[in-house]
Subunit: 376 residues, 2 copies
């Protein structure tokens, strides 16, 4: 069974990390990049390649490299362009080219230093290079720390759909250094808050309440609030993934807001709306649909809109097609990975803190889209 | 645990196939393509896509399609170009394009109808499309029936190395219809015999003896001999894979002759030498190296050469570089997936029927290459 442990870094000398079989740990703490001891006692092989992007690389590549020094025969790096629009085969292939050019064998670990795009691509590369080598996630965005680096989903985008090509492949270790969030632009930070809000809505009413009273200190990036929120999100995600690693049931609830959100991302062109922005507008639409299906009351939708707005995130979706906007959304949503037999399966809220997956009549979905979009 | 069962088709009405968890069956028989009942009682989802190539498609696509009729909402097909040189990302992507164009969801099964190239590519596509859908191997070459369709290795080639990008991903079912071998060109049939010979050498002295006395009837494609040989090869492969699915130890012995063989394939350009031809010359080189290391006597090498020659296969490798042929082989072999820390690991014979994996001094390997190559 997959077992994911969450470790808070209070004093690293005291931390015991137990990695057996496919278990792995998420370490959360401040300035972890400067603590080489977190990598001690683990078998990462002979070669390391740090995959990062142009933005993150200039802040953190040398720090990670220094921490890994002496632990490998050779440490390479590969700096990819930054952005969702680069999460494609061409850039994935740059990772394979680098690995082969440096004659990296199976005793190689890929370190993914960056946000969700870097983590998804580096993880996918690790899962298929020579049929699988080790990888370590070092997420540097809020979104990656609370969501994409945990749970072992890897992917690249296809022009016809987000994350269409990928694997389930667990990292050996996840290192969440929240000091790296200090350089994150506000827009990216807000985008990460979308996933944080998601966890409260789908799984944890107490966390939802905590978020409503601590959102300002989170936005102010106060370490105590940040570390609590990151830990709670990782715990929730680990708990869900532990029960359903390959998304055969429960795990699908983590896609709340994502069915509409992916349509927004694909419809606008990858990278125009950030993932978290699409998810935000998508959560409002999914909440609105839940209300129209009688699962929640109208107040809940308003409270969600208010929290999303306070987080600096969009509460309306963009118009993707002036002639038939709802039709365009439906078309894009039908290729969602949760779809079955052409029927779109939505993650809906069945009372705060509880989510479910079900289909809905097209006419109702059209009404929701009409009510929740505006020209941007 | 992975469990692979081999079923001989004597009377299909009586066959019980037990598929639980990741277990699966290999069905071996005559004219299985015309027996739709072999697919009964299995959950393959709503959509089927048959991936084949231009050569095999014209013989067998309609027969497989007829057998699947009525079992799916929709059955699509995709016909790829034929040959190892097409086992690359561009053609893999054609499979994704077809799946997305037809809005295939996770309830889709890919049927790989063809030889090793089709099986490897379709299997890889199945393992990563939406993070994994079902697939069924319907191998139509001897090589695929005895080797590549069994054991769950999938891959595409990278310009710098064969099978560099891939996954371990088990099919739901393998259907070996040896009537499909009737249309196989002699050169391809011989190439398949290379892997048949391999199993005797590395694992089963009795099978080796049987091969020496039945090679002519095999080459004559006599059904009794064919079905025995295919079954025995599948049994050996299943037994090895069951013990070591992810090639952490034992499974590597299945690569006897492949380290040299992959260098030949890559060095000549994919498709110039057939895989089985490269493996044949590679087995001679590996046997020669085993002899020079004192593991087998010279007679064994001569017996192997004689059997390979009778099978219509090359017993000498090509000269890849007139100036430094051994250097070129070594360069190509260093990126073999079994290499560790730049050290090539060879599968060697430690007495007939027994294989081992170990390194060898470069100077000795150079002598072997010099002795075993000739200008073609």
């Amino acid at each position: 069974m997959l077992n994911i442990g969450v470790i808070m870094d209070s004093d690293f000398n005291n931390v015991e990390i137990d990695l057996e079989g496919r278990n792995y740990s998420i370490i959360i703490g401040d300035n972890l990049l400067d603590k080489p001891e977190i990598f001690n006692g683990r078998d990462f092989g002979r070669h390391a390649i740090i995959v990062t992007n142009t933005t993150v690389g200039k802040f953190y590549l040398e720090r990670l490299r220094n921490s890994l020094r002496g632990k490998f025969d050779e440490i390479f790096d590969l700096i990819l362009p930054d952005g969702e629009s680069f999460k494609n085969w061409e850039n994935l292939n740059l990772i394979f080219d680098a690995l082969l050019e440096k004659a990296c064998d199976r005793k190689t670990t890929i370190f993914a230093l960056g946000g969700g795009v870097v983590g998804d691509m580096a993880g996918f590369a690790a899962s298929v290079y020579m049929r699988g080598i080790s990888f370590v996630q070092v997420p540097t965005t809020l979104l990656a720390q609370v969501d994409s680096s945990v749970g072992g989903k890897t992917a690249i985008n296809h022009p016809r759909g987000k994350n269409m090509i990928g694997t389930f492949y667990q990292p050996k270790l996840v290192v969440c250094d929240f000091s790296t969030l200090s350089t994150l632009p506000s827009r990216e930070f807000s985008a990460g808050l979308a996933e944080v809000i998601k966890y409260g809505v789908i799984f944890d009413r107490d966390f939802w309440n905590w978020l409503n009273s601590h959102l300002s200190s989170l936005i102010g990036r106060e370490p105590v609030s940040l570390s609590y929120a990151i830990r709670r999100c990782c715990e929730i995600k680990a708990s869900v993934v532990r029960q359903d690693e390959r998304e055969e049931g429960l795990r699908a609830i983590l896609n709340f807001g994502h069915t509409f959100g992916h349509a927004i991302e694909a419809g606008m062109g990858y990278g125009v709306w950030l993932h978290g922005e699409g998810v935000s507008a998508g959560m409002v639409m999914a909440a609105e649909l839940s209300w129209r299906l009688g699962l929640v009351d109208a107040d809940f939708v308003q409270l969600l809109i208010a929290l999303i707005r306070r987080a600096g995130l969009p509460t309306k979706g963009p118009v993707l097609d002036a002639n038939d906007n709802a039709g365009r959304y439906l078309e894009l949503m039908r290729i969602d990975k949760k779809s079955e037999g052409g029927e779109i399966r939505f993650v809906l809220i069945d009372g705060l803190g509880k989510a479910m997956v079900r289909a809905a009549p097209d006419s109702l979905v059209r009404d929701v889209i009409d009510a929740c979009c505006e020209q941007v």
